[in-house]
């Protein structure tokens, strides 16, 4: 996906590991394939 400035991003599922436990969130990181 591209944002308004033309940057290309891809969605990533990332793990968060805190003292309270582990969970995953969906974030955006720059698209390596661009």
């Amino acid at each position: 996906a591209a944002d308004a400035t033309g940057r290309k991003w891809e969605q990533k599922q990332v793990q968060i590991k805190t003292l309270e436990g582990e969970f995953s969130v969906t974030m955006w990181a720059s698209d390596d394939k661009k």
């Binding site: 990533k12 990332v14 793990q15 968060i16 590991k17 805190t18 309270e20 969130v25 720059s30």
Partner: protein, 449 residues
């Protein structure tokens, strides 16, 4: 190598973050520096990005991390705010995004590191999971291979023991054979082949420049273009120095930056033509100058009018595409004081009169590379810049003026007489934080600003 440098900014207590905050100045953005590591990828780095960073506000004995948001960028440096602090800037920290302790979100889980909030906010949020979910879902982070790309972009085609040709700092009109000794962040420490060693093995003559500098050339370049080269004095023995112990390898053209092609047809520079040129020995001055000799491949030798010794030893070699040679009238058109030959004064000097008096013609304007480039620098921006008169030193500097593709650089804390004109695409200028990521020593400002 640290003894080869001057002061060390870190040891002297210099910190870019507080320096920028105190002065209120901006750092030049990374996109201004095409030769800087990760320049092309830096468009993905912006305010609002989330990262995992070392938590320095914890009593835990082990190294723990926490999530932070980029709230300000200055070159490679980012002002980060830990999650949970919201509008509170009391624990904001400046980090270099190129250093090891800043990572994409998810790095800690993959590397079995724990995320622990700073003590100041630990108890403030009751349900950290919900809080973080709300802050992170749909937000942006660094690419997973950020540090790999950083390392890739810092690769250098040179290694210790490579031979090349470089300007002779003791006589600028000629080149001299030199060998690569040290490489830091693409900057080469070159030892002249006959530079000599002192009684305790110290190098008596060296030269520092970036691998893309216009002052270094492959072996065979001088002979090919017709430039004078000093033959190596075989009586000088450098073999006890580590750079000379290996089998030396001659450099080849594809290890160097390719210059813009120029066509030397009927309308090229000719001997005697007048121009304006940056004085190679006083880089803050743009002087009245003459073409003294035309070499091959678009190179010319230029002398500064009125101060030449007469034997050609102070001529300097410029490529026709160089930013440092300018058409007559350039200074006047851009409100720069032209340095005149001795005996002339600003009030009465005019180019038409001077040309008539000298029986010379001006080099045609179309031969010069004065095309405007959208470089992004503006006056007041802070950078790290090489003092080209002492090129081992990378200093805290400010862009003082921008004129076309030229930048007038001021070295913070130094008198304006040390200011230097450089090209906006010079490989000798770097973003804030470059020294920190490459391990090159940064010279702090001298005295109070």
């Amino acid at each position: 190598e640290s003894r080869a440098f001057g002061q060390d900014a870190t040891v002297a207590g210099f910190d870019w973050g507080s320096y920028l905050e105190k002065s209120g100045y901006l750092a030049a953005p990374l996109s201004c520096f095409r030769h800087a590591p990760l320049c092309a990828q830096w468009e993905d780095i912006y305010v609002g990005l989330k990262v995992e960073v070392l938590n320095t506000h914890t009593a835990l004995p082990s190294k723990v991390y926490w999530i932070a948001t980029v709230v300000r960028l200055a070159g490679y440096k980012a002002l980060l705010r830990y999650e949970g602090f919201e509008d509170d800037d009391s624990c904001d920290l400046w980090c270099n995004l190129g250093t090891a302790d800043v990572h994409p979100i998810g790095w800690c889980a993959v590397n079995s590191k724990l995320l622990v909030p700073p003590q100041e906010v630990h108890q403030k949020i009751k349900d950290w999971k919900s809080y973080l979910m709300e802050r992170l879902v749909g937000a942006h982070t660094l690419p997973v291979d950020f540090h790999v790309k950083m390392a890739d972009s810092m690769r250098c085609p040179f290694r210790q023991g490579v031979r090349l040709e470089v300007v002779d700092r003791s006589q600028v009109s000629r080149t001299r054979y030199a060998v690569v000794d040290t490489i830091i962040g693409g900057r080469l420490r070159l030892l002249y082949e006959d530079g000599g060693l002192g009684a305790s093995g110290e190098v008596l003559s060296d030269f520092w420049c970036h691998m893309w500098s216009s002052l270094v050339h492959p072996v065979g370049w001088s002979e090919r273009v017709g430039h004078t080269i000093k033959e190596t004095d075989k009586n000088v023995n450098m073999s006890s120095h580590p750079a000379f112990r290996k089998v030396l390898q001659d450099s080849v053209p594809n290890q160097f930056k390719k210059l813009r092609t120029v066509y030397m047809g009927d309308t090229f520079f000719e001997e005697g033509m007048k121009l304006e040129a940056i004085d190679p020995l006083n880089l803050g001055n743009i002087c009245v100058a003459s073409v003294r000799k035309v070499l091959l491949d678009g190179y010319i030798m230029v002398g500064i009018d009125g101060v030449e010794i007469g034997d050609g030893s102070d001529w300097f070699c410029y490529h026709a595409s160089s930013h440092a040679i300018l058409p007559v009238g350039y200074c006047q058109n851009n409100n720069i004081i032209l340095t005149l030959p001795p005996g002339y004064v600003q009030e009465s000097f005019t180019w038409p009169k001077y040309l008539e008096e000298m029986g010379a013609v001006a080099a045609p304007r179309r031969l010069f590379n004065t095309d405007a480039v959208g470089h992004g620098f503006t006056a007041g921006m802070k950078i790290e810049a090489v003092d080209l008169m002492e090129p081992r030193l990378v200093c805290v500097a400010t862009v003082r003026r921008c004129v076309g593709r030229l930048l007038l650089l001021h070295f913070d804390g130094w008198e304006p007489e040390f200011d230097q004109w450089v090209d906006c695409q010079s490989p000798e200028i770097y973003p804030v934080g470059w020294c920190e990521i490459t391990g090159y020593q940064l010279q702090p400002p001298i005295g109070p600003e």
